[in-house]
């Protein structure tokens, strides 16, 4: 056994000082970055509340937009319309996205088809949202000869899929191989192992991915411009144009009327609140069944 190099007390103290200085520096930088990220977020939210809260009243949630020149009116139809479009998009996009992610992680590893899907998903993720809207317009609206809630839902669903697919794949990849082996070793068929063991183990991450995709498309305006189109009245028909909050905010924000500007601020505030509430609700719901000491 060789002995450790002997160091003088002074050099020992110096290097200890250097270590603790480096530690403080890195911690400070980390805190600073967090502040830099949070300041704009808090500022935006604060400004929205400042500008929008004063125009919020019961009518905003219960009335459809008032005709030009008349005061009052609300965005009730846009709030419901956004709910309809987002519900439709989630209904279509989440199963397809998770399904593709499962294929990539559990069946398509190292296969050409898997690589093609992975590449397509990554490209799709970078496609500007307005292009998505044009695609949905060309494929659905132009064929049907009219705008519809359905077309808007599909445009948003296509935007959700790549994020969900890639998150699902990555989260499934973090499930330990030993856990899958345990299931296969019990004589549980592979499809059942995928559903009840792999997906279940990865579910917190997959839910986060779905929420990210949802929150991202919830505020999208461009893909809805020539698909859902917007509507000043109540509509519950998926085959007809439908109002949506981002569209209504867009129309009001670019209008010349002060009253509409105020409503646009209120709409933006409601949109953010709706996203935050739905994400929180899903989190609470997902954590309800959690066990002590589990994930």
């Amino acid at each position: 056994m060789g002995s450790l190099p002997v160091r003088s007390a002074t050099s020992e103290r110096l290097s200890s000082l250097r270590r603790s200085a480096a530690n403080h520096l890195v911690t400070t930088l980390a805190i600073l970055s967090t502040v830099v990220v949070l300041v704009p977020l808090v500022a935006i939210l604060g400004y929205l509340i400042y500008k929008g809260a004063s125009s919020l009243n019961l009518a905003f949630f219960t009335h459809v937009p008032a005709p030009v020149g008349q005061p009052g009116g609300g965005m009730a139809n846009a709030i419901v319309g956004s709910g309809v479009i987002l519900g439709l998009a989630s209904l279509l996009g989440i199963p397809v996205g998770i399904g593709a992610g499962v294929y990539l992680a559990e069946y398509g590893q190292g296969r050409l088809f898997g690589n093609i899907i992975r590449f397509t998903a990554d490209v799709l993720n970078g496609v500007p949202s307005i292009v998505m809207g044009m695609a949905a317009y060309a494929l659905i609206v132009a064929k049907q000869q009219h705008f519809s809630a359905f077309a808007g839902g599909i445009a948003l669903a296509i935007m959700m899929v790549p994020t969900i697919t890639r998150t699902t794949e990555e989260m499934l990849a973090t499930v330990p191989h030993a856990v899958r082996e345990a299931a296969l070793g019990l004589g549980i068929p592979k499809w059942r192992t995928v559903i009840s063991v792999s997906l279940r183990t990865a579910s917190p991450g997959i839910i986060t991915g779905c929420m990210l995709a949802f929150a991202r498309v919830a505020g999208e305006t461009a893909p809805l411009l020539f698909t859902a189109f917007g509507n000043q009245f109540w509509s519950f028909n998926l085959n007809q144009p439908i109002a949506a909050l981002p569209l209504q905010i867009f129309v009001y924000a670019v209008s010349p009327y002060d009253e509409w500007h105020r409503l646009a601020w209120a709409g933006a505030l409601v949109l953010i609140a709706m996203i935050m509430i739905s994400v929180t609700l899903v989190r609470i719901f997902a954590n309800r069944g959690a066990l002590k000491g589990g994930h």
Partner: protein, 252 residues
């Protein structure tokens, strides 16, 4: 009850690597059989061929005859059916982290579509008692995750989970190598208890462990079965020079 295992001319490969070469072996029912040998000698591959887990690796392949009881597992049945009859316990405890203790034990039945709650309750209790874990977890069965208990408890949970599907054979791949001495002793006691009802095959690096729990021992070296026989004979009077070198610590 346990069943005999007959292995004839078993060969296995990982890609181009020939990991098991012409293994011939008879493992008697209702006894514990230990497989020893240095790392990479093929003993883990061998047990994984006994329940067709070997082939879950896409580059792995096996040839030969393995008869468990009256079925030839490579001819007469699907891997899924085989694994229901042949339980496996792995080197590292691998409970399902998102399931409760109860659901972990019941998983083999539940995930194969069995739903009768009264029977499930009975099976879970019986299996946990067989695995000597019942008294430690009975108050938290549905509250705690299978991953929240200690490593030794997790491994006994995995044994209970394997027992719950009522297998005839229990394969154990170094079941105590990741555990502390106290937990190891518990697992060994358990093997001693269980071998009256199951055919147990245990891979181990620990020769004292083989001597303590197993009637028969096989010595593997570079993919071949060098020697197989009564444990006390293998350890006191081996026929093969290589076996003697290994157990006396000259290599491995």
């Amino acid at each position: 009850m346990g069943v005999d295992i007959h292995v004839e001319n078993l060969n296995a490969w990982y890609g181009q690597t020939h990991t098991l070469k012409d293994i011939n072996l008879q493992i008697p029912a209702n006894h514990a059989t230990a497989l020893i040998g240095p790392s990479g000698c093929g003993k883990s591959t061998f047990v994984r061929c006994l329940n067709r887990m070997h082939e879950t690796n896409p580059i792995a392949r096996a040839e030969g005859t393995v008869r468990i009881g009256d079925i030839d597992i490579y001819k007469d049945a699907s891997p899924v059916e085989i694994r229901r009859r042949i339980g496996m316990v792995f080197q590292r405890p691998n409970p399902f982290p998102t399931m409760s203790i109860y659901d972990n034990v019941a998983s083999g039945l539940k995930l194969n579509g069995f739903r009768n709650k009264r029977v499930l309750d009975e099976v879970v209790e019986r299996s946990l008692k067989s695995a000597a874990l019942w008294d430690e977890v009975k108050d938290d069965l549905k509250k705690k995750s299978g991953a929240s208990i200690s490593g030794g408890q997790q491994q006994r949970l995995c044994i209970a989970r394997a027992l719950a599907v009522d297998p005839e054979v229990l394969l154990m791949d170094e079941p105590a190598s990741a555990l502390d001495p106290v937990s190891t002793a518990k697992i060994e006691d358990l093997i001693f208890e269980l071998k009256s009802q199951y055919t147990i095959v245990i891979v181990t690096h620990n020769m004292q462990q083989a001597a303590r729990v197993a009637e028969n021992t096989g010595f593997f070296l570079t993919g071949t079965l060098v020697e197989f026989g009564k444990t006390h004979k293998i350890f006191t009077n081996p026929s093969d020079k290589r076996t003697e070198d290994y157990i006396t610590g000259r290599f491995g």
